[in-house]
């Protein structure tokens, strides 16, 4: 009997692939929500009132300092308690949220964690756009909002893409911890499978290979995306 039975690894990978949608949903969902937080947070840091800026500063610091695992537990234990308190003390019932599904809690935790990072990302993205671009937009008769929409956002976003790509890859890997609150994704399924087969090496290797594959594929896709959207950055060689 060989040390590592390849066929078993492949078989296991086939099984685990069924859980890829959960992983992608968590990672993709968290990224999208965090992007909203990132852009909104960054803009509010620039234009918002003093008290809001302080709160954001605290969020950005803590959101990145707290390990994702702890963030997960805090949301898992904290949110239902908060909802319960709201309901019993103030009679506020948020629709149907008696028992928040673990998936949502996991998504929320990942979003909060990533949001703090993305505020910093968009801070530097907006900073990377030369101040003169805004001035030129205003001087030509555009409003601040129009200038942002037409000129600043597109350039800031392009700058942010590689950083967003990194965060997405980080999220894919971060989803591997959510099984502790009973959300079954790739690693969770692997753990369950091991309880039956006791073939730890092959099973976890299969899981690792799936994640690895994802990393490689998505890294490639993000590089392509940056090239595609960065059409105006190419030099004098080609136009199209």
């Amino acid at each position: 009997m060989s040390i590592v039975e390849i066929s078993f690894v492949v078989e296991m990978m086939g099984e685990l692939l069924h859980y890829v949608p959960v992983t992608l949903a968590l990672a993709g969902g968290a990224l999208l929500l965090a992007v909203v937080i990132g852009i909104a947070g960054s803009l509010m840091e620039q234009w918002g009132p003093y008290w809001l800026r302080r709160i954001l500063a605290v969020y950005v610091l803590l959101g990145r300092a707290v390990p994702t695992m702890i963030m997960l537990y805090l949301v898992y234990f904290g949110l239902p308690l908060l909802l319960l308190a709201l309901r019993e003390e103030y009679g506020v019932t948020i629709i149907g949220m008696e028992k928040v599904p673990a998936f949502i809690l996991a998504l929320l935790a990942l979003t909060l964690h990533t949001g703090a990072y993305l505020i910093k990302v968009f801070d530097s993205a907006f900073l990377s756009v030369d101040k003169g671009q805004l001035e030129a937009g205003l001087a030509t008769g555009l409003s601040v909002w129009q200038s942002y929409r037409q000129i600043i956002f597109p350039q800031a976003f392009l700058y942010a893409i590689p950083l967003l790509g990194n965060q997405f890859l980080g999220l894919i890997k971060a989803t591997s911890i959510v099984f502790v609150i009973s959300v079954v994704e790739i690693l969770g399924a692997a753990k369950v499978a091991c309880a039956g087969s006791y073939r730890y090496l092959e099973t976890y290797l299969a899981a690792a290979l799936i994640y690895w594959g994802f990393s490689i594929v998505f890294e490639y896709l993000f590089i392509r995306a940056e090239k595609y959207w960065g059409y105006y950055r190419r030099g004098s060689e080609q136009l199209c």
Binding site: D130, G132, Q133, E135, A136, G137, L138, A139, T140, G141, L142, S143, Q146, Q150, I151, P154, Q155, L158, Y231, Y232, R233, R234, G235, S236, L239
Partner: protein
């Protein structure tokens, strides 16, 4: 009187960068502002378009009145729809083609229909000699070409006055000529311009009024002949000597 500026003052970090500056501009005037670095001429120009905020003074343009330190935001937008600004480092919109750069102020800024805007845009580009580069992105163009697109962007909106902030200072020497040529053309056509520049020849040849600024105030102003041939203030003479040593300098020094 198209534009009248009175008593503009500004302090920056405790230093007075503008001290009671006044200026009158008539339609068709080509006002060239010269002076040493730090004289406040660029700050003054930027204040006119509210890219900087002056501490005091007022501006009358068209039938709009502004108090610099407390100007109404809506009025500023209205002002910007009647004026245009050409920047020292061009500030072309990096993510838009040359044509798009020129038409953005028309379509998004003034709500002009896309086809009409494109027509006006191409006219402007043809005027600066860059119609064939309409679909090029700024980083595919040379500095001089970018600045000419910047000028096309300014003339396309048919402004009451165009403000030029040292338009050739960031250019390689070979490229300065093509931009000055376009500017001279515009001056000849009667476009009202306020130009801050170091190009003395341009001032001599195209200006209708020359303003010399130093240390934040206007030292002397007059026609090019008055300023260049018969400068009255010592400060003016010193400045001219330093920038045009051959014409104004003491012959003995040049050996």
């Amino acid at each position: 009187m198209l534009m009248s500026v009175r008593h503009v003052s500004k302090k920056f970090a405790g230093v007075e960068v503008l001290k009671d500056v006044n200026l009158d501009v008539d339609k068709g005037d080509v006002v060239v502002v010269i002076g040493p670095s730090g004289s406040g001429k660029t700050t003054f120009l930027r204040c006119l378009d509210f890219l900087e905020t002056a501490d005091s003074g007022h501006l009358d343009f068209d039938n709009l009145h502004f108090d610099f330190h407390a100007a109404d935001k809506k009025k500023i937008v209205a002002l910007r729809k009647k004026t245009a600004f050409v920047f020292q480092n061009y500030n072309l919109f990096a993510n838009k083609t040359a044509l798009e750069n020129v038409t953005l102020g028309l379509t998004v800024g003034r709500g002009i229909d896309k086809d009409e805007a494109e027509k006006l845009g191409r006219q402007a580009l043809r005027k600066v000699g860059l119609l064939d580069k309409a679909d090029y992105y700024p980083n595919q163009l040379s500095g001089g070409q970018q600045q000419r697109v910047g000028i096309a962007r300014a003339i396309a909106v048919k402004p009451g006055v165009i403000l030029f902030d040292e338009p050739t200072s960031a250019l390689d020497p070979q490229l300065v000529g093509e931009v000055l040529l376009v500017m001279k053309q515009l001056a000849a056509e009667g476009i009202t311009m306020i130009v801050v520049t170091h190009e003395m020849k341009f001032a001599q040849e195209a200006a209708s009024k020359v303003v010399f600024m130093a240390d934040g105030r206007v030292i002397e102003e007059g026609t090019p002949q008055e300023i260049f041939l018969t400068p009255k203030k010592e400060r003016t003479k010193d400045f001219l000597k330093s920038v045009m040593p051959i014409e104004y300098g003491d012959p003995a020094i040049l050996i």
